[in-house]
Subunit: 142 residues, 2 copies
């Protein structure tokens, strides 16, 4: 999770919403990314989507059943759907996101049969630091 | 929608689940894609995500408020989330997808405040042809 927080901090420095994600396979980091939605412009460029895509390319397979995903913020519906498609084994996220989350809020993507896969979900690890990075980012832009 | 159906047929020929998507801006097609999840492996490589990403790059902006999306199948939760992030104006989809859909089924992504944007949604145009392409694809693989 520390590495995901570093990715979030890098995203903030680049003017992107500071969220970071890391994919771990067999105890090794195989993909890490922050949000990149502005440069280049990509409405799908959330940290989770980018990290999952890189991990799939790295392993040469679409399914990441043996992988864990660490992300600094509760995934939105798009990212939760991507996590289900990737068959991620364990999802660890730091801060909850009542405003935009899709795991424990809103669409609750994993709670519907249409998701086809539900990872083990662990929330809260590193939440204070993840929230602080987001709060500082939005405070500085106001 | 005819062009989206052609993208779906091309995906089938490549061994990919036959779904196609097209983004239209000012009456012009600016992006078109089928599913590409196997080669290269990408759990996020649904036609909608790919077309939205290409459209954003084409227009040089993350938000596609002036764009319409045509897709041959009801978007899943991941794609519905991507459509909300992209601020797509109108979503047209052909066949409904009770098994994996996230618009009128399951997560119903646009029905939650966490989506932040809800496009106008029109369903059914080209549904018979879209369903036939999918049915033939899966029948041939059994």
């Amino acid at each position: 999770m520390q590495l995901a927080l570093e990715e979030a901090a890098k995203a903030a420095a680049a003017g992107e919403v500071p969220v970071g994600a890391v994919v771990v396979h067999d105890g090794r980091v195989i993909a890490a990314s922050g949000n990149v939605t502005r440069d280049p412009p990509d409405p799908t460029g959330h940290a989770e989507v980018r990290a999952l895509r890189d991990a799939a390319r790295h392993l040469g397979q679409e399914r990441l059943s043996e992988c864990d995903l660490y992300v600094t913020l509760e995934p939105c519906a798009m990212c939760a759907g991507a996590i289900a498609h990737a068959r991620i084994g364990r999802l660890y996220y730091a801060a909850s996101d009542p405003k935009s989350g899709g795991v424990e809020h809103g669409a609750r993507v994993f709670e519907h049969a249409q998701a086809h896969h539900k990872p083990e979900v662990y929330a809260g690890m590193g939440a204070d630091e993840a929230s602080a990075i987001l709060r500082d980012f939005f405070a500085a832009r106001r």
